[in-house]
């Protein structure tokens, strides 16, 4: 289990995360909802220590990720996670196959001759044909990039996958395919998933638990059913995707 306690993150005078408290259940999909600029990506980047928290704790099996200063031990802690970047972050100087195999070299002891089989296995797992391994990332569509990126994450068998807006910028059908993939990874591999999104359709489909991040704090945490029925006007407005409500009023006041 990952426990986030009183997490704070500021950029100068801008306090993005003010007091985030959240427990991520093992083997479940936890979705973090929030508007643009609400700090969702910052939160999972702090979990991966791609950004340093200003205060608070992120406990991974009791060890605080935010306090680890030794680069070697930090690298070891990061191995627990896989990170699916919003735009894929594929290495454009390498082929798709080389991208998928990249982590094997650094995170596993897999012999070199097994790489081709693993590349094909992981590409198949995300629904891509074998010939894709020979392509360059620049030749891929948005949906394919995300799937290749997921294959790269899966190749190193992480215990927890952090998805940064996996469906953003994709057409509805591809969004649904990606959502199905997230569910499949949970069922087949039993991985813990943390998904950052503002796509309500996807959130309701994939989530075991949803957390709503607003003004640097978790305003509501619950099951998708609880979110569907909630009377909280902030959450209600976000779930309904309405321009009228307290969130807009708050923006106007600011």
């Amino acid at each position: 289990m990952i426990e986030i306690k009183h997490l704070k993150k500021s950029f100068g005078a801008h306090h993005v995360l003010q007091d985030v408290n959240l427990n991520i259940e093992e083997g479940k999909v936890t979705t973090i909802l929030g508007g643009s600029g609400s700090g969702k990506s910052t939160l999972i980047k702090c979990m991966m220590r791609l950004q340093n928290a200003t205060g608070g704790q992120i406990l991974l099996n009791g060890r605080d990720i935010t306090k680890e200063q030794n680069p070697m031990r930090l690298a070891a802690l990061r191995r627990h996670f896989g990170y699916l970047f919003q735009e894929g972050a594929l290495f454009d100087s390498m082929t798709v196959g080389e991208n998928v195999a990249f982590g094997l070299k650094y995170l596993t002891d897999t012999p070199l001759e097994k790489y081709p089989a693993i590349i094909q296995e992981k590409l198949a797992m995300v629904g891509l044909k074998p010939h894709v391994a020979e392509l360059n990332p620049s030749e891929l569509s948005g949906g394919m990039r995300k799937r290749v990126s997921l294959a790269r994450v899966l190749a190193v068998n992480p215990k927890c996958i952090l998805y940064d807006e996996p469906t953003t910028g994709l057409d509805p059908i591809m969004s649904d395919i990606i959502s199905d993939l997230i569910l499949e990874m949970k069922k087949r591999l039993g991985v813990t998933s943390v998904v950052i999104t503002h796509d309500m359709h996807s959130a309701f489909k994939i989530s075991d638990y949803i957390a709503f991040l607003y003004e640097g704090k978790i305003m509501m945490y619950g099951t998708p059913e609880e979110f569907r029925k909630t009377d909280n006007p902030y959450v209600r407005q976000f779930v309904d995707g309405s321009s009228q409500g307290p969130i807009q009023m708050k923006l106007m006041k600011d």
């Binding site: 991966m48 791609l50 070697m72 690298a75 990061r78 896989g82 919003q86 070299k105």
Partner: protein, 258 residues
């Protein structure tokens, strides 16, 4: 006005501190992580081999113009263009060889390094390295830094040879100095210390260009515009710092009798 100067100073100091941190990180990972030999070889090709023609051309014509200007001036003063070979060789080996090579490499290979790492930074590829068991220092900076440290002195050596050869062509065919006289002038006053003077400079310049260009790349923010700014900033910083550092290095090395 004062606040602007203050902000500029703080900005410079911050960048200096961050660049120093990067060097510290290079030393940390250099001894603890596997050396990316394939990356190193690739970078030796990009930084060293691909820059060979442009540095050779630059030095050849520098040597030629030094011989022409020197020969004419000495001829006007003393009546004969004497010690042209000495003038060309000293100027090149102690000063112009290391400086011009470093300037040309910073404009060619340095800019490419900053643009490449910078593009990776703004597309989250540097973050991706952290998530896949390595890090930008180990995977990108160390191979480039070692390739710069190896390539710049070697290119400087070739640059010196081409410059002396350029001087030879002008001395022989434009100034009418016999080839044997020019070559004996080249070696007459040249000692190991003079060679070391230039070599040490080229090594320091290689380190400088590598540090500035890698740091500017890693710290790039703000999309395509940021990459452009970082690349321009890297080249300008390199050129200015090479020229400034050249003076202080000359003063220090001379004080030590080198």
């Amino acid at each position: 006005m004062i606040s602007s100067i203050g902000k500029l100073m703080i900005n410079w100091m911050t960048q200096l501190g961050e660049a120093t941190n990067m060097v510290r990180s290079v030393l940390f990972w250099f001894t603890r992580a596997r050396f990316e030999f394939k990356q190193f070889i690739n970078q030796c090709v990009v930084i060293g081999v691909d820059s060979f023609a442009v540095t050779a051309m630059t030095s050849l014509f520098t040597g030629m113009v030094l011989a022409l200007q020197g020969g004419n001036t000495i001829g006007n003063i003393f009546g004969d263009p004497i010690y042209v070979g000495t003038l060309v060789t000293f100027s090149l080996i102690r000063e112009l060889g290391p400086v011009l090579t470093a300037v040309v490499i910073s404009g060619r290979a340095g800019a490419a390094v900053t643009a490449h790492i910078g593009t990776m930074a703004v597309t989250e590829q540097l973050d991706a390295l952290h998530t896949l068991g390595t890090n930008p220092t180990q995977y990108l900076v160390i191979p480039r830094m070692t390739a710069f440290l190896l390539s710049v002195p070697i290119l400087t050596l070739f640059s010196n040879l081409f410059g002396v050869f350029g001087g030879y062509l002008v001395a022989k065919y434009a100034l009418g100095i016999p080839g044997e006289v020019y070559m004996s002038d080249v070696t007459a006053f040249m000692g190991v210390k003079d060679f070391m003077h230039g070599f040490l400079k080229s090594f320091v310049f290689g380190f400088l260009v590598a540090t500035v260009c890698c740091y500017k790349g890693v710290s790039t923010r703000g999309g395509a515009e940021g990459v452009g700014k970082a690349t321009t900033g890297a080249v300008v910083t390199c050129i200015v710092m090479i020229l400034v550092l050249d003076y202080f290095l000359t003063a220090i090395l001379t004080a030590f009798g080198i």
